[in-house]
């Protein structure tokens, strides 16, 4: 009996070690490229050429980062990205709330089929719609404009679906009680339904912000001038062709990623709560 218990404990111990080893390996796979990029950015140009594979910079320097900031005019690019990402995030929250409310609380003819059509758009890859959307935006005269960068991204099926799912968990009696109290739809949305899905909205805001910040295909399809360039497509400028400035792009990438890290660290609790919302009852 005692031998059995010992064997079971050893098995559990071995499993635990195995699990942690696997986790450490996965963490290494995820983190190493980030670490390598950061180290590359902290090397001087010549050092990067001489020792491209070294894990640590021989001469630690911030010069490459400074140069990337100056040559790429990264301040301007970051501001553009921030402006676009913030407006898109606000827009997505508003459109998701409104559309999700309609799908969750209102009865109208064709509600089911319309919702299915919405969901079906998730099956269409973004790459497939870029050309058509670019032509539409072009016909509006929105090439090289903020509205071109922002308006097409203002409503997402994902956002509508996510918020609708939360709204569906709001008891029907709450809407009925509000109706008897004389609360209209808009007020119910603002004062009752929206506060109930705050964690989900937080996660949606974060996803949307990160997604917009990292947009590459769409901005590169409609932006050709410097004034409206966002950070992700603006990094292109750092490809100077100079042999000794080989790691400028890497340094630019690090700068472009810093705001995302800041946002992630600030809102990671919200993100986890949003991701697990609905998964765990209560």
């Amino acid at each position: 009996m005692a031998a059995d218990t010992g064997a079971t404990e050893r098995l559990h111990g071995a499993r635990k070690v195995g699990r942690y080893a696997l986790l450490i390996f996965i963490a290494f796979l995820v983190l190493f490229p980030i670490y390598a990029t950061l180290m590359q950015a902290l090397k001087s140009g010549p050092d990067a050429i001489k020792n491209p594979q070294s894990i640590l910079p021989i001469n630690f320097t911030l010069d490459t980062l400074r140069a990337a900031w100056r040559i790429g005019d990264l301040g301007r690019l970051l501001l553009n990205s921030l402006f676009v990402a913030v407006l898109v995030t606000i827009g997505v929250i508003i459109t998701s709330l409104l559309a999700a409310y309609a799908f969750a609380f209102l009865d109208f003819p064709g509600k089911g089929p319309i919702f299915v059509c919405f969901l079906a758009t998730l099956l269409v890859p973004v790459e497939l719609t870029v050309v058509v959307n670019q032509r539409t935006v072009d016909s509006f005269g929105w090439i090289n404009s903020y509205q071109g960068l922002i308006v097409p991204l203002l409503a997402t099926t994902f956002g509508i679906f996510l918020v609708r799912q939360v709204f569906l968990t709001v008891p029907k009696e709450l809407r009925e009680a509000a109706a008897l109290d004389g609360v209209g739809h808009f007020r119910f949305l603002l004062e009752v339904a929206t506060p109930l899905c705050r964690p989900t909205l937080g996660a949606l805001a974060l996803f949307t912000f990160l997604g917009t910040w990292n947009q590459y295909l769409w901005p590169s399809a409609i932006i050709t001038d410097d004034a409206h360039r966002t950070i992700q497509i603006g990094l292109e400028r750092l490809k100077t062709g100079d042999f000794d400035k080989f790691n400028l792009v890497t340094a630019g990438t690090v700068i472009a990623a810093l705001p995302i890290f800041a946002v992630l660290i600030a809102f990671q609790r919200q993100l986890v709560r949003g991701l697990t919302a609905g998964a765990v009852k209560g």
């Binding site: 009696e173 709450l174 009925e176 109706a179 008897l180 109290d181 004389g182 609360v183 009752v192």
Partner: protein, 343 residues
């Protein structure tokens, strides 16, 4: 806190409600006519799925009748929006706004109406005090017990001073002890407010102890309407006879209790042990409840329950008894229509 406004009479005329269409159509309420007087505490009583909640929801405006008319006061309200009907509803699930404090929950209907802050604070405080909620005003519903939440829901209803209160099984989520206490509170509240209350329940004890009138429903149809005493003493159908009373009335097949072609019903407390009684029983089980004893007996395959004082001698299992009942306590029903024969 009493009403400064006129409370209203509610009249339901030939109300029918059908859900679905064609072959899948289900009639939840079938040609129901009820008059509810001013200040009445009307209980809609029946088993689950009998249409009582649907009827209540139609009064509140949450459902539209398929046919028939609803009047509140003298006004026909079929097409009037819920918020304009001057009806407040208390739900089984309380339906409190979870992110708002108790104070904000109670004040909310007044805020929606645009009442000034001091005015609604005073009214909310008065409603809260009348229900003993003054210590919980700054808590959120999640921090309250079931009974306290139900009182908040009541406070939110009374603060509006509506013409009619609709209550949909408001005590069902409470434990037995709290249910008993809240029953008494509701009766007291009705007396103080002097309001018209429509109250849905499947619990006959609530119906008997709280209502000024009881409307018993089954399968969408109104079975009987009257005071609790009338419904108990003179059930108009076999369903009502069996639904009201714990344990329910013994309804015996033709020929068992009397030599006649009718169903005969006798309440367990009205069956008297008598050596020359008309009905012979075999005791199958004895339930001693402390204040009374129930003898569960068998009479040629029919279950018959006899209620006795706790002091009466307890017969043993298998004992043969003879029972009788006075003429005044015999209820006769048509075996086909199951309706009362003797008026």
């Amino acid at each position: 806190m009493t009403y400064g406004v006129d409370v209203a009479q509610v009249r339901l005329e030939h109300i029918t409600k059908t859900f679905g269409e064609g072959k899948e159509a289900v009639t939840a309420v079938d040609d129901v006519t009820i008059d509810i007087e001013d200040h009445d505490f009307m209980i809609l009583l029946g088993p689950s799925g009998c249409g009582k909640s649907t009827l209540l929801r139609m009064v509140a405006g949450l459902e539209t009748p398929t046919s028939g008319d609803i009047f509140i006061g003298t006004k026909k309200v079929n097409d009037v929006a819920p918020k304009l009907r001057d009806v407040a509803m208390v739900f089984q699930s309380y339906a409190l706004y979870p992110q708002k404090t108790v104070r904000a929950n109670i004040e909310f209907p007044l805020k929606v109406r645009g009442e000034s802050k001091p005015e609604r604070a005073a009214k909310a405080m008065s409603a809260a005090q009348s229900l003993g909620l003054d210590d919980y005003l700054d808590r959120k519903p999640g921090q309250l017990s079931g009974g306290q939440r139900q009182r908040v829901a009541l406070a939110r209803a009374i603060v509006r001073q509506p013409a009619v209160f609709c209550m949909d099984e408001p005590l069902s989520n409470l434990d037995a002890k709290l249910r008993g206490e809240t029953r008494a509170e509701l009766v007291d509240l009705h007396r103080r407010l002097d309001a018209t209350i429509l109250y849905v329940t499947h619990d006959q004890i609530e119906a008997m102890t709280m209502g000024t009138h009881v409307a018993v429903m089954n399968r969408g149809q109104l079975q009987q309407i009257g005071t609790p005493q009338q419904v108990y003493a003179k059930p108009q159908t076999v369903f009502v006879a069996r639904f009201i009373g714990t344990p329910p009335m013994n309804v015996m097949p033709p020929g068992l209790f009397e030599r006649s072609e009718v169903l005969v019903g006798v309440r367990p407390e009205h069956l008297q042990l008598s050596s020359n009684g008309v009905l012979s029983l075999t005791v199958r089980m004895v339930e001693q409840l402390g204040h009374e004893t129930l003898l569960i007996c068998d009479a040629v395959g029919t279950r018959v329950v006899v209620r006795q004082n706790a002091e009466a001698p307890v017969p043993s299992i298998g004992a043969e008894l003879r029972v009788d009942a006075s003429e005044a306590h015999r209820h006769r029903f048509d075996p086909v229509t199951e309706r009362r024969i003797d008026g």
